[in-house]
Amino acid sequence: MRIPWRLLLFVSVIGYLAALVLVPIGAIVIRVVDAGVGTVLGELARPDAVHAMALTAILATIAVVINGLFGIVAALVLVRQRFWGRRLLDTLVDLPLTVSPVMTGLAFLLIFGRAGWLEWPLETVGWKVTFAFPGLVIATLFVTLPFTLREVAGVLVEVGTTDEEAAVTLGASAWQTFWNVTLPNIKHGLACGVTLTLARALGEFGAVLILGGAISGKTQTATTFIYAATEERKEGAAFGMALVLALVSMAVLGLLEWLKAPRKEE
């Protein structure tokens, strides 16, 4: 008998994906329904839960805006300019992708924390970074740094410089060229980068936990809320928040797919 290889491959791929992705999400949905949708919504409406969600939303927004702008500028510099150490810098910006966020949190703790390098100057001006909002911002910015940069840099390499040169010979200033030619050329890459930044910011846990401390109602984000709720065996709250994050992530994923879909104008 012939072995149906194609069918076997298909089933194994689908089975693997289901086991890793679909089953866990399904499990969360079932637990939420088990616990009672009303109860879960009640848990999510409590002030500490609302605070955690709001904090995550704010952090994600800050990451998108700052690393979005930085990503565009850095991509332009890395792709279009030639300078000593460019290759090294080009490698370094990917570090947040490979380094464990927990290690990142620890490293920042050494700089900003108790007995850290910047403890004295920060104390003098009365700034608290660790276990406070600025710490969360730094942690989120670090882990989301490369996404916009990488997406935009890829598109910049692909589109080349002739469109910009054409604009310049037609009398456009640097700003006019950027606004009218470069930005429309990179807009899809930018959108993808922003979406990935958003997704990463929503899901960050380790760095945010170490640098922020997950203080309920203060530095607790959606992810650290889930962690705390599990520890305290508040399953309704944990699964509810997990479902919220899963839904938002899926929405972001849908957005990304839509943005990546080939457009007619290309």
Binding site: E165, A166, T169, L170, N180, E265
Partner: protein, 344 residues
């Protein structure tokens, strides 16, 4: 406006992409920069436009030095090989771009776009996007866009390189007509000698960053200044020989040579259409190897009695071809040739 470049030099590391090149283009002239790919033609064009800095030499437009001017201030119309149209803008917006960034009023922009669409034969297409146009149409839009802000000179970098052969032919004729209408000073880069000779008033030949020769197409064809030019602008027969008493010998052939001293080692260059071959019944000077009809011409490959190959070409109906077939004996006459001194 006239273009004048003087002792232009551009180096990339140790490699001289442009090596001390000087030439002038008169106001209203249409000139081709011709040469093999990678020879520095495009670099010269980009330096004139200000898209590239030179390492030495000067560029003048209309008698005014522009080396210090940024590309945006040079008022140069530039057309790129792959059009470089803004793909998120319509044809109309593309053409109006230069006017818009220079602060021209809307109604004037619209008037000018209409006028240019008429000029390039694309009336009614101003609402289309570049991806909805053919290659030839895109290149016309690119040209209209470059012309819109009334540039002082027009520079085209391999303008027809990205379209297929038939459209290319059409665009060449169209560019020539357009130039006869507008008289804009135009410099275009090409590696295709047919394109250069069929379009330009004058041809400047660049090889390995150096200027080899400049002049009208016929002069370059008939009086190639260097061996490189002779070989580059069409097929040639080449023989290395030595001058004796004002003439050189190639097998049984004797060809008079001027301008070269006695005993000088020279390279004799003869074009296939400067050779007469005809059937003879005696020994002759050569034996025909192959007779190949190629379109409206016939190519004859023969061997001189002495072993050297010789290639000649005739119009298909030429009376010289009578009786010529592979294996027959041939008489040979050289009507035109040039000899170049060999480096000793």
């Amino acid at each position: 406006m006239a273009i004048r470049i003087d002792k232009l030099t551009k180096r990339f590391g140790d490699f001289a992409a442009v090596d001390n090149v000087s030439f002038e283009i008169a106001d209203g002239e249409l000139v081709a920069l011709l040469g093999p790919s990678g020879g520095g033609k495009s670099t010269i064009l980009r330096i004139i436009a200000g898209l590239e800095d030179s390492d030495g030499g000067t560029v003048e437009l209309g008698g005014e030095r522009v080396d210090h001017l940024h590309a945006r201030a040079r008022q140069v119309g530039f057309v790129f090989q792959h059009y470089a149209l803004f793909k998120h803008m319509t044809v109309g917006e593309n053409i109006a771009f230069g006017l818009k960034v220079q602060g021209v009023e809307r109604p004037e922009q619209r008037r000018r776009v209409e006028e240019l669409l008429g000029l390039v034969g694309l009336k009614g297409l101003d609402g289309r996007f570049p991806h909805q146009l053919s290659g030839g149409q895109r290149q016309r839009v690119a040209l209209a866009r470059a012309l819109a802000p009334q540039p002082r000179v027009l520079l085209l970098d391999e303008p027809f390189g990205a379209v297929d052969a038939k459209v290319r032919e059409e665009l060449r004729r169209w560019l020539r007509r357009l130039h006869d209408e507008l008289h804009a000073t135009t410099l275009f880069v090409t590696h295709d000698q047919e394109e250069a000779f069929s379009v330009a008033d004058r041809v400047v030949i660049i090889n390995k960053g150096r200027l080899e020769q400049q002049g009208p197409p016929l002069e370059i064809l008939d009086e190639p200044a260097t061996e490189f030019v002779a070989r580059f602008v069409g097929e040639v027969n080449v023989y290395d020989t030595v001058v004796r008493d004002g003439r050189v010998t190639v097998g049984p052939l004797e060809v008079p040579v001027h301008h070269h001293p006695d005993k000088a080692a020279v390279r004799l260059v003869i074009r296939p259409y400067d050779i007469k071959l005809f059937r003879v019944e005696d020994q002759g000077m050569a034996t025909a190897d192959r007779v190949l009809p190629i379109g409206d011409r016939v190519r004859i490959e023969a061997t001189l009695h002495g072993g050297q190959p010789i290639v000649a070409q005739f119009p298909r109906r030429s009376s010289l071809l009578r009786g010529v077939e592979a294996g027959c004996r041939l008489g040979v006459e050289i009507t035109h040739s040039r000899a170049y001194l060999l480096p000793s």
